[in-house]
Subunit: 350 residues, 2 copies
DNA sequence: TTGTAGGCGTTATCAA
DNA sequence: TTGATAACGCCTACAA
């Protein structure tokens, strides 16, 4: 089948070890054979067998990446960030999609270990109460870095979710909105809990009263959930005048509900999401949002993992929080400021 | 380090080969030792070393996937489609991002072969004139399936791009638009050329004159390119009254330019894109589009690859074209139909 | 400067 | 029913 080291050796009347040494450019091989070997390699189309090499070197140059859903732009961009760092360093990525299924995650993890990957990046579907699974993660001898979703006592790189919630909510309040509601993601996910914390903190800081009715739990990835939650909020006896949505998809759903109610975000109501989705600026009303810096999260996670792989000794646990950026667009316009504008202006007001 | 077969064998006073046979559930091993082995495996936390296994079985259960850009929703969804088929079949994906760089693609291909992947799915950055690279692809002994981008004499799964162009353009014409322009992707990419062919075919079919000025080449992934092209079209002496954009991002850019010119798509002008992006319905004007069925493309590509891997003999070349679906939304509304509507209505007309 | 021998962890073949 | 033995393709001492 494929050309092996032995085939080259036979062809040249050399031994396998000489050819191997020559290929590695070892100094104790004569220039003549070096040349001879490399030209024959070229000629015969030799490709080293990484599987055999890995078996003996105990290094695969493969990183495992476990994420809940490939088709969410968040994870796709984190993945790209990982790749931009790992690829130049000579590592390739083995991809695992858990579909938010913790059992599947455990299985993929076993598979990756069995494949002898050099390191693992994980956005876990487990929550902090899954202590046995977390203990398993902690006891791994393969370096591991969590991305996006935090679990205690493990290396972590992700957004600063409390700051995200705090800045988003503070922005709405500073714009003059007083009754700020929050549509959160599933609170079992650390990011959702963190953003909610930040929201609460901002209310306290600005001495805005907290109405329990103003907090609704939804799902990060479903516009329909955001729409439904928003509809409920608008039906309250005293509805909110601003919404901090925990994700852009939630915000987009909320936007639909708001428009359907005949209200105009950025004027009658303040709205901000999280994620800085590529198409936020092109929505019916351009969406204010918190940029988590997704690609950077992926890059930092990969950098940390490569560092961990580099050291043989177990280093101290790292916890890297990437600072968010506030992106202000039309949907969180200043309260009352544009009330007199003809609404059809929105067509031109890009 | 990790527990090996030998450790279990020693622990039980059995030979390595017996333990191996027991683990494989071979019939010639007594039930008693079967149980003994499997309980010890559990107890000692044994995980087989896939690298060693692959070396001897000549099977890695890994598929290589080479795509130009992870962060484009198109490829992310194709990837997901691939995974939904390959994962249940016991295959994992090794991911490669070429950033549209043909040299990098060649390098990734060599890497995958060196890693002994069982099959490869490729969205190539090469164009049909790169005959040496294509010849290399054809001569591979590892099964290969192209996705999305066609190259001659290779297995292929992708959208039916000519039909995409034909249906999109026909739709605009049927809506009453007469001067239909086309903003294409880079014509070196087969999909862009195919869609353009379909556009031309529709013009002929409906006896619509073809103006060379009405065809502008742009880039699939850049909204700014669409915006610029659209601006140029609107400045023409007799500007078009409809635009077939070769991608949703191009269409979104065009949408911006149209709105900035004070025109309303779906009323003054017809606009349709390609891709059925998740957020098409939520744009300033809901975007008509051609759904390529991305996930299905990925699934079919994976199915074909698995079939090729299954046969030992080389089977005939396959060429699978996935039929597109026309998705009609506001941006391609019937010419003149809503001209009398107050434009502010668009706020409610969701 | 080159070759020999042993081993990485597993599976496969055959003998016991 | 089990166990030696030899691979798989490569790397690394150490010997020649």
């Amino acid at each position: 089948m494929a050309v092996r080291l032995k085939d080259i050796a036979d062809h040249l009347g050399l031994s396998v070890s000489t050819v191997s040494a020559a290929l590695q450019g070892r100094a104790d091989i004569s220039k003549a054979t070096q040349k001879l070997v490399s030209s024959t390699v070229e000629e015969m189309g030799y490709q080293p067998n990484s599987v055999a090499r890995s078996l003996i070197t105990r290094k695969t140059n493969v990183l495992g990446v476990i994420i809940p859903d490939l088709s969410r732009s968040f994870f796709a961009e984190v993945l790209k960030g990982i790749d931009t760092v790992s690829s130049p360093a000579g590592y390739n990525l083995l991809l695992c999609n858990t579909e938010e299924n913790p059992a599947k995650e455990d299985e993929m993890l076993r598979m990756l270990l069995s494949r002898q990957v050099d390191g693992i990046i994980l956005a876990s579907a487990h929550n902090a109460s899954d202590s046995t699974s977390i203990q398993t993660l902690r006891s791994l001898s393969t370096p591991l870095v969590l991305v996006d979703r935090f679990l205690p006592s493990l290396n972590f790189v992700g957004g600063d979710d409390e700051m995200i919630g705090f800045q988003a909510t503070s922005h709405l309040i500073r714009q003059g909105y007083k009754r700020v509601a929050h549509i959160s993601g599933q609170l079992t996910i650390s990011t959702a809990a963190g953003r909610r914390q930040g929201y609460l903190k901002a209310l306290r800081r600005f001495q805005i009263p907290l109405y329990p009715d103003y907090i609704i739990e939804s799902h990060y990835h479903e516009e329909s959930g955001g729409e439904e939650a928003m509809t409920r909020l608008l039906r309250l006896g005293s509805p909110p005048d601003a919404i901090f949505a925990a994700s852009d998809p939630i915000a987009i759903g909320a936007l639909q509900a708001i428009l359907e109610a005949g209200l105009l975000p950025g004027n009658d109501l303040g709205l901000i999401g999280v994620g800085n989705h590529r198409y936020g600026p092109y929505l019916r009303v351009p969406l204010s949002t918190m940029d988590q810096q997704r690609t950077l999260i992926g890059q930092e996670a990969a950098k940390l993992l490569l560092k961990l792989i580099g050291r043989t000794a177990r280093s101290r646990m790292k916890n890297i929080a990437i600072e968010p950026k506030l992106i202000i667009r039309g949907s969180s316009g200043r309260r009352g400021k544009v009330a007199s504008l003809d609404r059809s202006q929105i067509l031109k007001d890009l």
